[in-house]
């Protein structure tokens, strides 16, 4: 039975409850990424972050990532939760949990999922500093994503 889930929330994320939601009897390892708000980025201090999403499309893209990960890795279940709104330093912004019979595939899938999420899921972060604020722009000049300049 598939126990995958993918959600967007404005509430505080409970990491343990996410990790436990995806554990079936045939699994022996769950790898969980806890992504949280960094205080210093290249020496510049962030006071807090604001996350915004194109929610309907973000959920569709998360679903695609889960399906693609299942095709590539020997894993059983995946849970992804991303938080939106204002987040303070140290608060969890994203959790990705992957349950597998063996740890190696779970680590690989979790790393692949966060890389792809940062490239394809339409969510943006704004860093707020003592002296201003800035929307962060992703790296994705990826050929698989169409761009305006093409």
């Amino acid at each position: 039975m598939r126990m995958d889930f993918f959600e967007i929330t404005t509430e505080r994320i409970s990491i343990e409850s996410i990790a436990r939601r995806i554990v079936p009897p045939e699994c022996g390892a769950t790898v969980t990424l806890d992504g949280y708000v960094r205080q210093f980025t290249k020496g510049k201090e962030t006071i807090y972050l604001v996350y915004e999403a194109y929610e309907e499309m973000a959920l569709k893209e998360m679903k695609k990532l889960i399906d693609q990960a299942r095709d590539q890795f020997e894993i059983v279940n995946i849970g992804i939760v991303h938080r939106l709104g204002r987040l303070e330093i140290g608060e969890t912004s994203v959790v990705i949990s992957v349950a597998a019979p063996h740890r190696r595939a779970a680590f690989a899938a979790c790393e692949w999922l966060i890389m792809e999420l940062k490239r394809t899921v339409p969510i943006w972060k704004k860093e707020v500093y003592t002296d201003g604020e800035q929307w962060i722009e992703g790296q994705s000049d990826s050929p698989s994503l169409p761009t305006a300049q093409r």
Partner: protein, 83 residues
């Protein structure tokens, strides 16, 4: 048959700040490709071209070739930065 159709355009993050709104309805000639909307926005807001932009049509990344129909939901936004 009408000569024009209306589509919805959503703006997010830095793009919403630059265009000063989060949603708009634009009129476009029947049968036009999605690229025509994106090109129009870039010409109306030249500052947008300083960003790495992505586009979608009906919540899927766009190729620019989609034939638009009434009620389509387009979006324009910068390269994503979640996580």
């Amino acid at each position: 048959m009408s000569e024009t159709i209306r589509v919805k355009v959503l703006f997010f993050g830095a793009v919403a700040d630059e265009v000063g709104r989060r949603v708009d309805e634009l009129e476009v000639r029947t049968g036009a490709p999605s690229k025509s909307i994106f090109d129009r926005l870039l010409s109306d807001y030249p500052s947008l071209s300083t960003h790495k932009l992505l586009f979608s049509v009906n919540q899927n990344y766009a190729t620019g070739k989609e034939t638009l129909k009434t009620g389509d939901e387009l979006a324009i936004f910068t390269a994503v930065s979640g996580g």
